[in-house]
């Protein structure tokens, strides 16, 4: 009898325990994806919702930013470094039940590199000469020249594998191969994903995930405090973080992003075409004051255009230490002892708007007057980015490993240095890991010592998460909220 009672109690406990354990999660996000095709827009929100959850590429990024295999089980690189033969995982199915095969891979890569492609990162595919489906599970990619970071490129959200059968509706009904299936999109409100029971790899631990779009910082605070959302990814109001840290219901995750935040200078516009002036600006800036004042202390100072968590990073902040006297001396040396006047164009994010005010004050202290104009993104893209009509501007470059932009003389800050261009071209074809690291360090040093831009800080990622929720990536090696390993404790 006693045994029977105990057994019942245990069973009841199990049952109620099972009923209580949550298997769904609601994640707050500030920006809503405009549509759901990661291969035809730059919007980070698309990747945040879909990368690795719904769509997978041949390769993928792990939480530490390293590149691991995705749909490719194995690969082989030819002696000359020009041919990559990928072996696909067996038994991978798209969410509509069709099989993934080499034809889908060929379709995806050819679509991304086509003449009329609208892929926002078309450069990732520029080096591909041909893609060949050898047999259903083997794809051979031939490059025009060896490319050291080809596997890295194939891990991007813009390089995920899509199927020709479902491509027409991809923008509203994405069909991928991932551990979650797209379920519903209430436009303006939320996107829901459900677990893919037929997933080829390790199954997701959650049954359902909802992304809820809350743009207003005060509304984000309310939603988190009322526990309407279980986590707020990239929480938009850093001033509240201390309050969340003090509350035992929540954990604050502080991690890194790939966002190098810089005070960009127009290298072809006077007076910034003078290296002395750029150097003066760099020494006039007190990075820590900006991090404390604009970012509530979150952010890592940088001295070049490179992420501190990357193994090839070298600390070059010493090249541009805060030294207003030196800045004044450099300006005098450049023949501008009385300073000068320039424009400072600020896009909407708070790092730019708040940081801009502080930078303007710091520059004024050495005699540089700035005329601040606050721009919307579309205006900023038109005026500063495309029109190159700016003296100074603040922007965070969020693409991973984007130091290559310094080899593009037509890029908005217009830095034109043949040595660096050669170095980056060599880097592209170099396959040897140690040499690649050395080249990256060389590139960091060149742009730091040339004071191309004033390097401020690596943008932090601060998320507020329910204390019982595990497995949310603290860092953002790419714009992804990979939910495949997320679960509830207890």
């Amino acid at each position: 009898m006693t045994r029977w009672i105990l057994g019942t109690v245990a069973a009841t406990a199990l049952l109620t325990g099972a009923a209580i354990a949550k298997t769904d999660v609601t994640i707050g996000l500030q920006l809503e994806p405009p549509h759901l095709d990661p291969t035809s827009a730059a919007a980070g929100a698309i990747d945040q919702v879909l990368y690795s959850n719904v769509f997978e590429g041949l390769m993928r990024f792990a939480s530490d930013g390293s590149v691991i295999n995705g749909l490719a089980e194995d690969w082989d690189i030819s002696e000359d470094g020009k041919t990559y033969t990928f072996k696909l995982h067996r038994g991978v199915k798209f969410h509509d039940g069709t099989d993934l095969d080499s034809a889908d891979v060929k379709f995806s890569l050819d679509r991304a590199r086509a003449e009329d492609s609208v892929n926002a990162q078309k450069a990732l595919f520029a080096n591909i000469a041909s893609v060949e489906a050898v047999d259903p599970l083997t794809v051979k990619v031939t490059l025009t020249a060896p490319q050291g970071n080809f596997l890295f490129n194939m891990a991007w959200g813009d390089a995920v594998i899509v199927a020709p059968e479902s491509i027409d509706d991809i923008k509203i009904k994405p069909i991928g191969t991932g551990a979650f299936k797209f379920d519903d999109w209430k436009q303006g409100d939320s996107i829901t994903l459900v677990k893919n029971a037929d997933y080829w790899g390790d199954a997701a631990k959650l049954d359902k995930a909802t992304f809820k779009f809350i743009s207003e910082p005060t509304a984000a605070f309310g939603a988190m405090m009322a526990e309407d959302v279980d986590a707020f990814y990239s929480y938009p109001a850093p001033e509240n973080l201390a309050q969340f840290e003090a509350d035992p219901r929540f954990t604050v995750l502080a991690g890194n992003t790939e966002g190098e935040t810089i005070l960009a200078m127009n290298n072809k516009q006077a007076p910034f075409d003078n290296k002395l002036v750029r150097e003066a600006v760099s020494h006039a800036i007190d990075r820590q004051a900006i991090i404390d004042g604009a970012m509530f202390g979150y952010g890592t100072p940088i001295g070049s255009h490179f992420a501190p968590h990357n193994p090839a990073y070298i600390d070059l902040t010493g090249n541009s230490e805060y030294d207003p006297e030196k800045a004044k001396a450099l300006l005098a040396e450049a023949g501008m002892a009385d300073g000068f006047k320039t424009t400072l164009k600020l896009p909407p994010p708070s790092y730019a708007r708040r940081g801009g005010e502080i930078i303007a004050a710091q520059l004024r202290a050495v005699g540089i007057e700035t005329e601040i104009s606050n721009l919307e993104w579309a205006q900023w893209l038109e005026q500063a980015f495309r029109g190159k009509d700016f003296g100074l501007t603040i922007v965070s470059h969020t693409e991973p490993m984007d130091i290559g932009i310094y080899a593009r003389p037509d890029y908005y800050f217009q830095y034109d240095n043949a040595d660096l261009q050669k170095l980056m071209a060599d880097f592209d074809v170099e396959a040897d890991g140690a040499k690649r690291t050395e080249m990256l360090q060389q590139a960091q040093t060149i742009i730091s010592e040339d004071y191309v831009n004033a390097y401020l800080f690596q943008l932090a990622l601060t998320s507020v998460v329910n204390a019982k929720l595990q497995g949310i990536w603290p860092d953002a090696p790419t714009q992804a909220i990979d939910l495949t390993a997320v679960s509830w404790s207890e």
Binding site: E32, P34, H35, S40, A41, A42, A43, E115, D116, S117, V118, N119, A120, Q121, K122, A123, K171, I172, K186, Q187, G188, D189, S190, K212, F213, I214, S215, E216, T218, A219, G222, A223, M225, A226, D228, P348, E376, W377, A378, Q379, L381, E382, Q383, F385, R386, V395, H397, E399, D402, I405
Partner: protein, 314 residues
């Protein structure tokens, strides 16, 4: 009445044509290219060109205007640049939140303002009148988004009676109405304050008219004179204000929609402007103009209904 209505319809049509021209001209000159916005910092120029072609942005202004207007006549508002789905569908979805929200808020406004305004007018100078005047002054002065945040703090975070925001969809009408309750109150309070004051002063004006004195002299009680004669005559300014308020509630809920993260029209147009989804902005703005014009038309007809003298005059 019929001639009056026909004349009104004629001016309505002209207003709409002018509005469509002005809206298109104003929005097309905003600097900023939707294609470069969508493709971001790393896109190559040829990719941007390909996307502009795909979006039909390379056609001439006149062609785009004509296809927009003729499309709208047949209910086709075109395809959103950013969302890449039909504008009419997206607007339709959002209207299902904005329209009920505006109606509920307007209902609340009238429910609060009428009794309060009538009470204040009939008890002029009493403590009831004084407190109504004081409270409505406060209601007008308090910014509604701030009041909304206070309600979130109290009812969502502390008491947990409501969600802090969001909209569950109409599949569950009870939950949907619950989600619209706090935003509707936040929207209604200042409007009710305004309307109550208008009601009070309009009623006071008519109550001092000669014909009311005549009514009283004939032997009607004050209450009878008020309900039969004064109230109807006081309705003209009140209807005008209600018409304006409805248009405002439909288009002006942007801030409240953001505070409660409701996917309504206001938030849609706000996002569309920043993303340079021009066709979306044009269509929503046109729709709002259309709604305002229609509300004014309805108010004009209502004038004629409450005041027969206006029928001949128009």
């Amino acid at each position: 009445m019929l001639r009056y209505a026909i004349k009104r319809v004629g001016s309505l049509a002209i207003s709409l044509i002018v509005a469509s021209l002005v809206i298109f001209a104003c929005i097309e000159v905003i600097p900023g290219d939707p294609a470069s916005f969508m493709l971001g910092l790393n896109a190559q120029p040829d990719t941007v060109a390909a996307l502009r072609e795909e979006l039909g942005l390379n056609a001439s202004l006149a062609t785009r205007y004509l296809s927009w207007v003729t499309g709208m006549l047949s209910g086709d508002f075109g395809t959103s640049y950013t969302y890449r789905s039909p504008v009419a569908e997206i607007i339709g979805d959002r209207l299902w939140i904005s329209l009920p929200l505006a109606l509920i808020a307007l209902g609340l406004t009238v429910l609060i303002a009428f009794p309060v305004g009538i009470l204040a007018a009939t008890k002029r100078g009493s403590w009831a009148d004084m407190s109504v005047m004081g409270a409505t002054q406060l209601g007008i002065a308090i910014p509604n988004f701030w009041f909304a945040m206070l309600m979130v703090l109290l009812f969502a975070i502390n008491l947990r009676w409501f969600s802090a925001g969001g909209f569950p969809g109409w599949e569950n009408p009870a939950a949907a109405l619950k989600a619209l309750t706090l935003p509707a109150i936040a929207l209604a309070l200042p409007q009710a304050s305004i309307l109550a004051r208008v009601m009070r002063s309009a009623l006071l004006d008519t109550l001092s008219e000669d014909y009311i004195r005549t009514c009283r002299a004939k032997g009607l009680t004050q209450r009878q004179a008020l309900w039969r004669h004064a109230l109807r005559n006081a309705m003209i300014p009140v209807l005008t204000i209600i018409g304006l308020q409805f248009s405002f509630l439909l288009a002006g809920a942007i801030i409240i929609e953001n505070v409660f993260y409701l996917p309504g029209l206001g938030r849609l147009v706000f996002q569309a402007i920043s993303q340079r989804d021009l066709i979306m902005v044009e269509s929503v703005v046109f729709l709002l103009v259309f709604a305002v014009i229609m509300v004014n038309f309805a108010v004009d007809l209502a004038y004629a209904w409450v005041d027969p003298r206006l029928r001949g005059r128009a």
